[in-house]
Symmetry: C2
Subunit: 328 residues, 2 copies
């Protein structure tokens, strides 16, 4: 596939690079490392894969990660990037209240990329998917000057209704589960040239989304849910907009871990800013009816009201409170 417009030429690659290995041997090497999983009816290697969709519905989401924008190869290993790419997509599926079942991965890569890097990426993707018993079932490898990883995640609602961003009602409580601000703190540490505290750096390299809490919240009766990828305030803003409500956050309910407090002090930063605006930990935020409250493992951090937007401690938050592409 592909026109011949500007593909690499034969012999342009070095030994140990994907150009030297060639597309089909590379794909074969990757496939040999991918474990299967329950529900995979036909795995990778054909024109398409076939997955079980037990309740006759499938949940699907796609995200791209670009080298230098979403990860840095001098900061993260190939395995780290695989874990992170898988995590952010699996978290999207979990945020619908669904159980992730499979990943499909596209890799656009320069010909001089090391074969070992690609194999490490595959290992990281498969390992992260394995945390939720999902499998990597399809992929594509193409030539590009810029390294881009595309991940599509599929999942099953197992008979439940999807929990969208649009169901929050005035009076509902707002709750979160999973880490907030850890990845942002790790990013700040790495940006200053440090490699520790290791737990924060590790959190930036390999987020640990609370996957199981997505289906749990759905079964418990969540009225709305979102994956915290842009930052808590920004993503609650998306939820508020979709639901046509206002969200009030009580910052005192957000406990600042000692690790973040110490790192912030060392770097001259405000740890609360990390908690409120740091994305990429892929925590989950959801709303629940007031008499019900959230299930175990969630922390109530606010309340839904009439109106629009997000307020923190009563103050309107200007802007998105999180990072956006293209600087807006």
């Amino acid at each position: 596939m592909g026109t011949r417009a500007s593909g690499p030429q034969p012999g342009s690659g070095r030994s140990g690079t994907i150009a030297a290995m060639g597309e089909f041997p590379l794909v074969a090497a990757v496939l040999s490392r991918l474990p299967s999983a329950e529900g995979v009816l036909l795995g990778p290697g054909d024109d398409a894969a076939v997955l079980a969709a037990p309740d006759s519905r499938v949940v699907a989401s796609v995200d791209l990660l670009v080298d230098g924008v979403h990860f840095r190869r001098d900061w993260s290993s190939a395995e780290d990037v695989g874990h992170k790419a898988a995590a952010q997509n699996l978290a999207d599926v979990a945020a619908m209240g669904a159980r992730p079942t499979a990943l499909l991965v596209g890799l656009a890569a320069p010909g001089d990329l090391a074969v070992d890097w690609v194999l490490g990426l595959a290992d990281g993707l498969a390992a992260e998917a394995g945390r939720v018993d999902a499998a990597v079932v399809g992929g594509d490898v193409v030539s590009s000057e810029r390294l881009v990883v595309s991940v599509t995640a599929l999942g099953s609602l197992d008979g439940r209704a999807p929990v969208t961003r649009a169901g929050a009602k005035p009076g509902d409580v707002v709750a979160v589960t999973g880490r907030l601000g850890w990845s942002a703190a790790g990013f700040a540490v790495l940006s200053r040239g440090f490699r520790s505290p290791r737990a924060l750096v590790a959190a930036h390299r390999r987020p640990e989304p609370p996957y199981a809490q997505g289906p749990r919240a759905a079964a418990h009766g969540a009225t709305s849910m979102i994956d915290v990828s842009d930052g808590l305030v920004a993503d609650l803003g998306h939820l508020a907009e979709a639901s046509g409500v206002r969200v009030d956050v009580d910052s005192a309910a957000l406990e600042v871990p000692d690790l973040l407090r110490d790192a912030a002090a060392a770097l001259g930063r405000d740890p609360q800013e990390w908690l409120l605006t740091g994305g990429e930990d892929h925590a989950l935020a959801a709303t629940f009816p007031p008499l019900l409250g959230p299930p175990e493992g969630w922390t109530v951090v606010g309340r839904v009201g009439e109106g629009s937007g997000v307020r923190v401690d009563g103050a309107v938050v200007e802007g998105s409170g999180g990072w956006r592409h293209y600087g807006r």
Copy 2:
């Protein structure tokens, strides 16, 4: 989502560019242009989409297209690229014997890309998906110096068994449906700086895969099937390898359309080479039991035998007979 490593800065974009518009308004503008379709239970705009999977299975495939490798913006309009990106993925689903139901699209794009280009891409994707009553149900837009389009296609087997590459048996007939060599001829025309014959140029810009023939062949009793994306000989080679058989092609059975014959004469090329090695038309190749033969609309072009590899008119074809990434 995304670290802050090297994203564009505020104010770096020009008016009319996606950087100037910003991610969320851009996504909203794209979403407003996407029609829905039957089977879409929850469309784009949330963490993930929800699709019907009527027979409790879903078919899934992913492909990437890179600017300058798989398309050229000076040769193809944004709508063309959308049509082509959708077509190659929908064809992968059809080649399993499945009916395409949905696309998810990821776009990695430089900040100075025109908003109109992105909207044109979305229109092309939606229009091509609409040819098979499928919908674009999800997407992601991220910043990258190099324009990359990722398309994931989902489909339904509607109760049928998937038709893989691995089921061909000695004695089966080999048949094809759809155009062969048209896209390659159009590429040759464009490469020489011409813009006509328009039908060939159009075939290169917007392939017309015979989507409906995939499910039809499956229902008819195809033993194996593949999407012709790398070229007929190359893709029959993949089918032969997966099935553990040899494929013999009778080139006389491949009728050369006058249009291709004339264009080849004008360009000093061999039209048969286009038919045998040109990919990207996304024709379908399949095998059928000898007493059954193919359904209407298919042409028998060869036979399956014991052994391995592909022979054309009895001669072993060296190499892949088609184009591969990384020059191998």
